[in-house]
């Protein structure tokens, strides 16, 4: 079960317009990273509580990047986790939140190298929701610190985005259910029509299945089968969820005024980041093809 106190705190902080200062003040920017290393302490499941809440509130903060990606990699490399927003990458393209980061951790070839972004060329880019996805040009820049690190950032990033997706999908469900209960046409709330009820139930099904699968994957975060399956499924669900949520909301949902877009723009972005359905299905299928029997492969025993 989620820690209820942490969940309530995360919910309160992340609902605010600019939550980063409050997250720093509460010491919640690097949950899941040991305190000895400069992190906030707590388990990966605790970190997932925060990520889920950040997805639910469509919070524009580098939370996954600072703790889940950079902080854990630094701690594993025996390096101190500096204060401030961080990010990490294996590939210099589409680096999340690079331009505002205090430090950028590049994990490659069994080593984590820490860079000061001031010494790098950063080519700005963004996802659909306007979150920075920049290209960094290392050139001849020298890392400010380095240490051995075997972390698979794609796997970790995939799980982080999968957790965020489940938070965002839950919000899409709640917005849709509320709207269907309020919006009246033909003299009654549209949620009274079976066609709308069936669509909402399908939406809810996708949300629930993705949620339990991602929670299960958080328990085995280094298992590529679990994480790959969870991300592939969450990415698949994100498309269905966004499409039903918009259909239920009608034309109002496609305006910049209505909050639905803050969720759906992230669903459409995060489902691709660190690998979408096709990537992870290919990865999973490739591994399965190398196994003798797909059943023990699938259930991991």
């Amino acid at each position: 079960m989620d820690d209820p106190l942490l969940a309530a705190t995360a919910d309160e902080i992340l609902a605010a317009a600019d939550p980063w200062p409050a997250l720093e003040e509460a010491g919640l920017t690097a949950v899941g990273v040991p305190e000895e290393a400069g992190g906030s302490g707590g388990t990966l499941a605790d970190a997932a509580v925060l990520l889920r809440a950040s997805g639910y509130h469509a919070a524009a903060v580098p939370l996954a990047e600072t703790g889940w990606l950079a902080g854990r990699a630094l701690a594993e490399a025996g390096l101190p986790v500096p204060p401030g927003p961080l990010t990490a990458c294996a590939d210099p393209r589409r680096v999340p939140w690079a331009r505002g980061a205090h430090r950028i951790v590049v994990v490659r070839d069994g080593e984590a190298r820490v860079y000061d972004p001031a010494g790098l060329e950063i080519v700005p880019g963004a996802n659909l929701a306007g979150e920075p996805r920049d290209e960094i040009v290392l050139g001849g820049a020298r890392p400010v610190a380095a240490g051995p690190c075997g972390a698979d950032l794609r796997l970790r990033g995939a799980l982080a985005r999968a957790v965020q997706l489940t938070g965002a999908m839950r919000r899409a469900l709640e917005l849709s259910v509320r709207y269907a209960g309020e919006r009246e046409q033909f003299g009654r709330p549209i949620g009274r029509f079976q066609a709308v009820q069936q669509a909402l139930a399908e939406l809810a099904g996708e949300v629930a299945i993705a949620d339990v699968a991602v929670r299960a994957a958080v328990r085995t975060p280094d298992d590529p089968v679990a994480v790959g399956a969870a991300k592939a499924n969450a990415s698949r669900a994100a498309g269905t969820v966004a499409s039903i949520a918009h259909q239920v909301h009608g034309a109002l949902g496609v305006t910049a005024e209505h909050p639905l877009h803050t969720i759906t723009l992230r669903l459409w972005s995060w489902r691709e980041e660190f690998g979408g359905e096709a990537f992870w299905a290919g990865d999973l299928g490739g591994r399965a093809a190398g196994s003798r029997d797909p059943w023990p492969f699938l259930i991991g025993m």
Binding site: G181, L200, V212, G228, G282, A288, W295, I299
Partner: protein
């Protein structure tokens, strides 16, 4: 605002690895031809008895009732292994899945003594008489009536009159559990009672209803004043609706709602299907299995996650058909029930059974209605 209950991932208890290994080695030695939808179409009484002999039927029933006192999660391990192998488990399926637990919860000590040991040994198979010619999704409209009769040669009891349809396996069953209206003039959920009718019985006629493939799995069961003694009323007269619906979470969320076409997936793997296509199916199945396991875990803790169970069945049964589409894409075989090629045969079995996946045990539309009610929009 009502919302979705959060489903925690289920965790298999320690010791299930050994149990799983024993089931696998049994399956490796057992002689059967794997088939799709084997829990409805693969009836093999000898196979059922072999499972019973190994302690894999009535697992969750307590020892005092003749069962094995194992947890629902241990049963989950056994049945998912059997289903993934396409093993012929249809003969005992309903008795093991729901009649055993129902007798345990609602039955008299005498009923439990009479039926449970046979269920556990794989020697007593049950059918369930629910749907009628005019009652399908609207189960509360059942018209089979039970009329009180006193002082006859068999003592006090009831006479059943009416017709049940789509009764899977009634032709192989040793008894049938019948839902009937026992209070004249009662409506909807009130006045319904469950009766145990041992088969064959005077006044009960079982006729096959051929499936579209020509196979015989379903039956029409006609009751023409069939006598049921008071001793075979299950639970309290008038309490039938509550008893029937209490078992639904068990019926709807199990791995049989995901794995009816797993044999096809296995064959696709064997034939070297496109890894990405295979991976898409595996990813979905992995997620659905976590959900099914989550419901099993909730049930094991004594909760009744009806909405979650409805969700699992809706999405799980649609996945079963996705596997068929992937198998069709892979091509290399046209469906042929008599083909020597296992893929052509499995495809044939799956295609003809698929319409039933999203009908049996509550149509997907009914299930989504349950979910919508859980969401508070209905």
């Amino acid at each position: 605002m009502p919302s979705l209950p959060e489903l925690e991932p289920g965790t298999l208890p320690p010791g299930t690895a050994g149990l799983r290994a024993r089931v696998r080695s049994f399956l490796a030695e057992a002689s059967f031809t794997p088939r799709c939808d084997s829990w409805l179409t693969g009836a093999d009484p000898a196979f059922s008895r072999a499972l019973g002999a190994r302690g894999w039927l009535g697992m969750t029933l307590p020892a005092r009732a003749g069962g094995h006192g194992r947890s629902p999660l241990e049963r989950f391990v056994v049945i998912e292994e059997l289903l993934a192998a396409g093993a012929p488990v249809a003969a005992h399926w309903i008795a093991d899945r729901q009649v055993g637990p129902s007798l345990l919860h609602n039955g008299t000590p005498e009923q439990q003594r009479r039926f449970l040991p046979g269920i556990v040994r794989g020697e007593c198979f049950f059918a369930i008489g629910m749907s009628e010619p005019d009652s399908g999704s609207d189960l509360a409209s059942v018209r089979t009536r039970a009329e009180r009769t006193r002082g006859g040669e068999h003592g006090d009891g009831w006479r059943l009159t009416g017709t049940k349809v789509w009764t899977s396996g009634a032709h192989l069953a040793h008894a049938i559990l019948v839902l009937a209206r026992s209070e004249r003039g009662s409506e909807r959920h009130a006045g319904l009672t469950q009766f145990i009718v041992p088969l064959p019985a005077e006044g009960v006629t079982i006729r096959p209803i051929a499936s579209l493939s020509g196979e015989h799995h379903f039956n029409e069961v006609v009751f023409d004043g069939a006598f049921v003694p008071d001793a075979l009323v299950l639970g309290k007269p008038g309490d039938g609706w509550r008893q029937v619906t209490a078992e639904l979470a068990y019926e709807r969320s199990g791995p049989e709602r995901l794995l009816s076409t797993f044999l096809l997936l296995r064959l696709l793997h064997e034939r070297g299907a496109d890894p990405r296509a295979l991976g898409r199916l595996l990813a979905r199945l992995w997620a659905l299995r976590q959900a099914s396991l989550g419901v099993a875990g909730a049930l094991a803790q004594g909760r009744t996650p009806d909405v979650a169970a409805a969700l699992v069945k809706d999405l799980g049964t649609r996945f079963e058909s996705e596997v068929i589409e992937a198998a069709r894409d892979h091509a290399g075989a046209e469906p042929d029930p008599g083909s020597p090629d296992p893929l052509a045969r499995a495809l044939a079995q799956a295609v003809v059974q698929a319409p039933g996946f999203t009908l049996r045990g509550g149509t997907n539309e009914i299930l989504r209605g349950i979910v919508a009610r859980g969401l508070g929009v209905r």
